[in-house]
């Protein structure tokens, strides 16, 4: 009898000990949750390394809320990764009262969204595909916003010997002749489209997920962003084409050198396109126009002109509102 009593008493003690452990853990969770909600409801300036939002000069009067405040903007990973869109969207929302839902996919995917009416406005950089998009009647008011450029990068050893060449197409020919690994996005993004167009000029046909691609032509596929591809190329000492801003922002972790730059075909041109409201009744046409006007406004273009100077020593984008593509080609 006595032994069973002790066993029961021990089990009860274990129960009490576990009970107090649970109470302590519950208390910690409640405190944590309380802390989170208190601080999250405060409106402090964000201090994360990703973006430091500028102090905006908003007018003293309250901004009128638009009838349909939600705008879905489909854009590309390069505009997101540079941090430029975070800055611009913040200002746009404060100035106009619209609520932006920015979705960053590739230019091809963004245009797909526009085709199905799942986005209101696009900010993309795949000119050939955009022209087709407009011709098919999916978009209206395609306006040039800004540009930067692509560069061909590769390992410092440069086995194909393309460093300093001024013609991108000739440089790629040397890479293909030497059969050195070339890494492609392979995801129908603007970068991917540009790169494939250069191979086409050489007469080498490469396609996404094709089994007939040359053995040295390696694709990342959808989901491999520009930075991921650069890291792969860096690890495997291969060549690739990248936009300058992604390269600049991550140079320190890559062992890749800039080999070819300045060729006019390497221009990376961004357009803003409003999704055609005639196709879909639930597209936010007013919102799309407001955003398009905002991107082309003098104030925004001034921000674009200086974005990146303090962090990288040079601007990441060049503002181009009002110009035509032909004018850019001559620069």
């Amino acid at each position: 009898m006595g032994k069973i009593d002790t066993i029961f008493k021990e089990e009860e003690k274990m129960g009490t000990r576990n009970r107090s452990k649970i109470l302590i853990a519950l208390l910690t969770l409640v405190l944590l949750v309380g802390l989170i909600s208190i601080v999250a409801s405060c409106n402090n300036e964000a201090t994360t390394p990703a973006t430091t939002l500028p102090v905006t000069t908003t007018p003293a009067t309250t901004v009128p809320k638009p009838a349909n405040p939600e705008i879905i903007m489909a854009s590309t990973t390069s505009t997101r990764d540079s941090g430029l869109m975070d800055v611009l969207i913040h200002i746009f929302e404060q100035q106009t009262g619209y609520k932006m839902k920015p979705i960053y996919v590739g230019s091809g995917a963004a245009m797909s969204m526009g085709q199905k009416g799942n986005a209101d406005v696009l900010l993309v950089h795949s000119p050939a595909a955009e022209v087709k998009f407009m011709d098919d009647g999916y978009g209206i008011n395609r306006k040039l916003v800004m540009h930067n450029d692509y560069i061909i990068v590769g390992s410092p050893a440069d086995p194909a010997g393309i460093k300093g060449m001024t013609s991108a197409v000739d440089a790629l020919k040397k890479v293909s002749d030497a059969q050195i690994n070339f890494y492609s996005r392979g995801d129908n993004s603007g970068t991917d489209a540009l790169e494939k167009s250069l191979w086409k000029k050489l007469g080498i046909s490469v396609a996404d997920n094709s089994t007939t691609n040359p053995k040295w032509y390696i694709e990342g596929g959808t989901g491999t962003g520009m930075l991921d591809l650069l890291r792969i190329a860096s690890e495997k000492n291969g060549y690739t084409i990248t936009d300058r801003s992604t390269y600049l922002a991550n140079k320190k972790i890559l062992s890749l050198d800039v080999l070819v730059q300045g060729d006019p075909v390497l221009l990376n041109i961004y357009h803003v396109i409003q999704v055609n409201p005639a196709n879909f009744s639930n597209v936010n046409a007013d919102g799309a126009k407001a955003f398009s006007d905002f991107m082309l406004s003098t104030a925004t273009q001034a921000i674009i002109k200086t974005y990146g100077v303090d962090k990288y020593g040079q601007a990441l984008f060049f503002p181009d509102a009002g110009k035509t593509e032909a004018e850019l080609g001559s620069q």
Binding site: N18, A25, C42, T47, P49, I72, G83, K101, G225, N282
Partner: protein, 232 residues
């Protein structure tokens, strides 16, 4: 290696200074996954109990569907939910695409079969004589199920932890239906992917540490509750 230490340091700094963006992201993670878990319990436990305790034609087929659902790939769920919730999808007029509500729906679909599957197994392994005993004491149908569920407390709590664990850590569906929009649908997992693709590795590691700490805390409490049941 230095990056991991940087990440740990940054995690502490972010939490101590109460960085509002990080706290907002963490809070949304808890809110979305917590709500989805609660909803999946409300549907999954009764469903699992019915499947485990009753007999009807086609029961085994439904059971195999539930078990398949336990292995449902989150990205597939995200894709299908997206197709329904897109502007021009069948449920587009609800305007819940790219909102936390859409994420809760997707996570509910992922967690519910897990909870139901575990509950089904838990109720099936109860001694059938126990059911007879309870009925002989005059219990109603509802009382019977309630007592049986209490008996199966151990595996049931495992079900809750499995369901919560699956959705707090998933990123595919949350990314697709949420869009990782800062201040609106950014949760810890999607933020980690986003920061990683921007090259902000230390920040991504910091967020990972915070995520794992949160998951550990929740599971610690649930485990204590579960193991206390055993001490009887």
């Amino acid at each position: 290696m230095g990056m991991i230490f940087d990440g740990i340091k940054q995690a502490f700094l972010l939490l101590i200074h109460g960085d509002p963006q990080v706290l907002k992201i963490a809070w949304l993670s808890l809110l979305v996954s917590g709500s989805a878990t609660v909803c999946s319990l409300c549907v999954g436990i009764p469903l699992g109990a019915v499947l485990g305790l009753s007999r009807f034609p086609g029961r085994r087929f439904v059971a195999s569907l539930i078990n398949t659902g336990m292995g449902l790939p989150p990205v597939v769920v995200g894709l299908v939910v997206s197709i329904f919730l897109w502007r021009n999808g069948p449920l587009g007029i609800l305007h819940i695409m790219y909102t936390p509500a859409a994420m809760v729906i997707a996570q509910f679909i992922i967690a519910m079969p897990i909870v139901a599957g575990f509950t089904m197994a838990a109720t099936q392994q109860l001694d059938p004589k126990l059911r007879l005993q309870i009925l002989s004491l005059g219990a109603s149908r509802v009382q019977l199920v309630w007592i049986l569920l209490k008996e199966a407390r151990l595996p049931l709590l495992a079900a809750i932890m499995a369901g919560f664990g699956a959705i707090i850590s998933e990123v595919g569906a949350s990314m697709m239906v949420g869009g990782n929009i800062m201040g609106q649908t950014r949760v810890l997992t999607t933020a980690i992917v986003g920061e990683n693709s921007k090259g902000e590795f230390a920040y991504a590691i910091a967020l990972s540490i915070i995520l794992m700490a949160l998951v550990f805390l929740v599971n610690f409490i649930l485990t204590m509750v579960q193991q206390r049941a055993k001490a009887r």
